[in-house]
């Protein structure tokens, strides 16, 4: 930690009781905008539900998919949400292991993002199935027919990886919140008291409890990191393991992981700004922290850009004419506007993050983070769709298949679903980790003392 840093990640003179008060307040009465946002999220979600009911009853055809466009926005958005889930793991697990203190006020909501975006991603796997009602055929359970799913299929690896990741991240989120639940318990009244009593698992804050807590938390964090890397590598395998031009790319796993961290970081910036405003968290979600997140995002954006260039180069200099055709098609064909928007949003816009002045403007940061997310969503769509429209078989080339309102509706709805879960979360779980902020304040005080002494 740079002690000479003028701007502080957090004020060291916040009283611990004040922290409790500020954070617990978010569980009670938020600004009215909370309800506006919640209502918005709920109605978006209902649009998605309506679309799914229609699709379920009528058939996948209403999504306007066809041969060859067998997959559409569902899979693209699925990857997007899986990518999004990497935010939490990055902030809480990776940065935890790296002892980056500044993560402390913001990792809790990032972890929640992980869980909820995985839950959103899972929905897309479901709505994508032609026979949703038979989804359990894909699960490995002993049955009287002696049939197993096909363990060779990357889609199955997907299902397992996501399920494991989701379970682990819920556990991680929960464990990390136990001390905070105890604080809630101690301050709550009525049903909330019972609720937090159960959640707090009898936390008393004894030394033994803290020791066990630290070990468990660290263990799960260590477990989560390879999981996060593997889950997106496996999602990448859905494509890389296939035989299609544009998909059969060796660099896809790291490329996907980089993309995931990238979109995760961008989403953290967005939600950081939203939460800071909605719950008056200015004291905790400070500008210096945002600055750090932005710099991290910039670094990841460059990694992503580099991996993109590697992919283009290997296609260009490779001998696979089908893939090359496809790459040219992406850059010049009907998808070109989207493809170039992706390039601009993904590789050019992040340069705004390199400029300090921009980093210190909430408005600019908000817009930039949305653009980055748009770019990342387009990236996923540009992986899925062009391979279908311009694959091996020219007879079936179809450059005009446009997703129907049902597909768009569900993409839209997924943001509602995510937003809704997140809003509910912020009302039930302290979205800033109180005990860690206290730790942070304590560390700063210590550090200040040390520097003063020095």
């Amino acid at each position: 930690m740079n002690h000479l840093n003028k701007e502080k990640d957090i004020r060291e003179d916040i009283a611990w009781a004040q922290i409790n008060k500020d954070v617990l307040r978010s569980l009670e009465k938020p600004r009215p905008v909370y309800w506006v946002l919640f209502g918005l999220a709920l109605s978006m979600f209902l649009v998605g539900v309506g679309c799914e009911i229609y699709q379920y009853q009528t058939g996948m055809g209403v999504a306007n998919m066809n041969n060859p466009h067998m997959w559409g926005l569902y899979i693209a958005t699925f990857i997007f949400w899986i990518g999004m889930s990497h935010s939490g793991t990055l902030l809480s697990a990776i940065l935890h292991l790296m002892h980056a203190d500044w993560r402390k006020p913001i990792y809790r909501f990032a972890e929640a993002m992980t869980t909820f975006s995985l839950m959103t991603a899972g929905l897309f796997v479901m709505v994508h199935l032609g026979r949703l009602w038979q989804f359990y055929y894909a699960l490995p359970y002993p049955n009287e027919r002696w049939t197993w799913p096909n363990f060779q299929s990357p889609l199955l690896w997907d299902a397992m990886a996501i399920f494991t990741y989701l379970t682990s991240s819920i556990i991680f989120l929960y464990i990390g919140a136990i001390p905070d639940f105890a604080i809630c318990r101690d301050n709550a009244k009525g049903w909330r008291k019972n609720f937090y009593t159960i959640l707090a698992l009898g936390w008393m804050g004894t030394d033994r409890q803290w020791r066990n807590f630290r070990i468990t938390y660290l263990t799960v964090a260590c477990f989560l990191i390879p999981l996060a890397v593997s889950v997106h590598s496996i999602v990448a395998s859905d494509f890389a393991m296939s035989q299609q031009p544009g998909w059969h790319v060796t660099s896809f796993p790291p490329y996907f992981v980089a993309g995931a961290l990238y979109s995760g970081c961008a989403a953290i910036i967005t939600l950081f700004i939203v939460l800071r405003y909605t719950f008056r968290f200015e004291e905790y979600m400070t500008m210096p922290i945002l600055d750090k997140v932005a710099r991290l995002t910039f670094a990841i954006a460059m990694v992503w850009t580099y991996l993109n260039l590697i992919e283009f180069a290997s296609v260009w200099y490779g001998h696979d004419s089908y893939s090359k055709d496809l790459l040219i098609q992406k850059a010049t064909g009907p998808y070109a506007p989207f493809w170039w928007t992706m390039i601009v949003c993904g590789s050019i816009v992040p340069f705004a993050l390199a400029i300090k002045k921009f980093r210190s403007s909430l408005t600019i940061m908000f817009i930039v983070s949305l653009l980055l997310n748009l770019g990342m969503w387009l990236e996923r769509w540009m992986i899925v769709a062009p391979t279908y429209s311009h694959g091996y078989y020219p007879w079936t080339w179809d450059h005009f298949q446009w997703p129907s309102f049902v597909q768009w509706g569900m993409v839209f709805g997924s943001f509602g679903w995510f937003g809704m879960l997140f809003m509910i979360f912020t009302k039930l779980v302290p979205s800033v980790s109180m005990y860690e902020v206290k730790e942070m304040v304590y560390h700063r005080t210590l550090a200040n003392k040390e520097s003063r002494e020095a």
Partner: protein
Amino acid sequence: MSNINRRDFLKVLGWSSVAVAVAGCGKTSVESGVETVMSYSQPEDFLVPSIGVYYASTCTQCEANCGVTGRVREGRILKLEGNPESAINLGRLCGLGQAAVQHHYNPDRLKEPLLRQGGGLQPTTWENATALLAEKTGDLKGEQFAFLSGGLSGHLKVLVQNYVDSLGSKNLYFYEALTPAVNQSVSQKLYGTATPRFHLDKAQLIVSFGADFLDTWVSPVHFASQYTQFRKATIDKKRGTLVQIEPRMTLTGANADRWIPIIPGTEGVLALGLVNALLKGGIGVKSLPASVVSAVRAYDKERVNKEAGVSGEVFDKLVALLSERSPSLVLSGLSAEGHAHGAQNAAAIMLLNVVLGNVGKTIDAPTRLPFPQLAAEEGNSVALKRFNDSLAGDKFKVVFIYNANPVYTAPAFMKLRDNLKKSEFKVVFTHYLDETAQEADLVLPLDSALEDWGTHVAAYQPDSIELTMQQPLMEKLYPSGTRSLGDVMLDQLKHRRANEYKDFADYYAYLKSALTRNKGAFSGVSADDETFWNQALMHGVLKVKGQEQSISANVVNLDIAQPAPIGDDQYPFHLVPTVRSGFRDGRHANLPWLQETPDSLTTMVWDSWVEIHPKTAERMGIKEGDILEIASKNGSIKTQAYLFPGVQPDSVAIPLGQGHEAMGRYAKDVGVNPFKLLDPVFDKSTGELAMHATRVKVSRTGASVRVVKEEGWSPIVVNTQQGRKLVSTIAVDKANFSKEV
């Protein structure tokens, strides 16, 4: 098998017997005796549940009359396949033929007779209807009655003829819109036979002027099997080469080694140019009289280039091919004969066969049919013109129409719909409420081709003559609603000529008796009546003992003079009405399989379109899907543009068969009907309607749609293989056929 009594078979196998008892209260249809339950525990020995049994019959979807076998299971006809015993199709079947099951099960079939009452058509009973027929024709004068029928052969033709005779009428018209009538008349003059036999398999070279023999012309399935032999390289014969010359690429053209687009109507000029060049090269000089030799001198390469739009280079190649490859075969098709000078065109083309010495080698005389009364009346359009003229002159009080839809197929200039109204009592025998049936006073629904009995003698006989049997492949779907025309005719004849017909209980009995009485005319059949009959039904084919004939060419009175080309500034384009294999003259447009089957060349489905050459389109600023108005002097239609390289740049082509105003859910309001545009141009020699002589102008309407087609959708040209090895092509001199089996 041979001992099955077919009548019993139908009695037990009936649709009505597969009754399903309705659960719940009240009497079920079974209990009330409306339906009967047949127990599978004691099935007839020929009926095994779950085992398909095949019965032979004849395809009536087009004039080729291929042999079919129908797969019947649990009393239902499921699928039609080719009858290997028929020399016509040798066990193969085209898509149109297979789709006959969809006529049979068509949801829009008429299920009861309809009678015009108070302006509208109301259901009536067959008893009423037949009484009405007898009443209306009772004291009718012969000349006041007319019967318009589609192409017909066999015993039904005899019954219809006898019925018309019994009314003292001479007005039996056989009308078909798409028969090669002009060619046949020229053939008759030149070869002494209207329907010579072609041996495509023996030819080293086929030069076809618009004869779409692989898809829609004469006997396509038969020609397709000959084509396989033609293309095959064997020890004695090289792989045959096909050259196709036509204004719009047909499926045959699409399979040619060389496809040559030509300005419509100038086929004769090219043919005579070729004759001239061959004669100059010393080929066939002796085969022609001096008058013809001097007549063709006027046709040289330059004239061919100028008038027909065929380049000198292409012309020279063609001359070289014709000189080198022998025997060859030159065919004249619909696009060549459909002009005012159609007969001259066809004659000029056929003259090539004489010059090349093909007559007697690849062109042969057919076997003579010993009973001409059963021979096919293929029908033609002169019949329609005569029928219509008489209608216009208010000559007919009572009109019967069968197997034809003239209100749909007659060009607008004929005003047939109005003329038909002048007749007092119009009876239409049909399966659907089509455009003509809508105009009728009495609509009589017929049994489907798969429910009916019949005999057929195809006009084109590839081998010795076959009489093919048509038999029901299942019990009638609407036993009390539909009847066989044979039964109706017989019933009416019993009124008029009771003595002659009283012995025949029904059409079936009539057929059986007529055939068994003459079984001596067939080769290889049993002497016993029942055995003979069962054999006939089992095999579906009876080989007629016919007399072989020889062929010789007679060019003396052949009119080959070609008219000077006429331009038309106001109507700059030639209209090419193309025949689609699935729809033909439109009578099959209500078969969903065929609507959904992409047009082989454009891959369009479920609609009409106008084909325009990409260059022409570019010049006029037309893009695919633009709605164009195509106007002739006699009408106009609006349809979507399809940019098609296989059309001659001065021509536009519109497929026939769509644009129905009626005829059920699959046909109604789908596309447009180019029949309506046709100009009143007739072949001068035969009086046939010249189908390819209409001039049109093309204009954009400003509207545009996305065309519905099978080929890939891409703004770049996807209709090539994009350099991928999908259909690989090898030059004939590079190919090694020695290993092929």
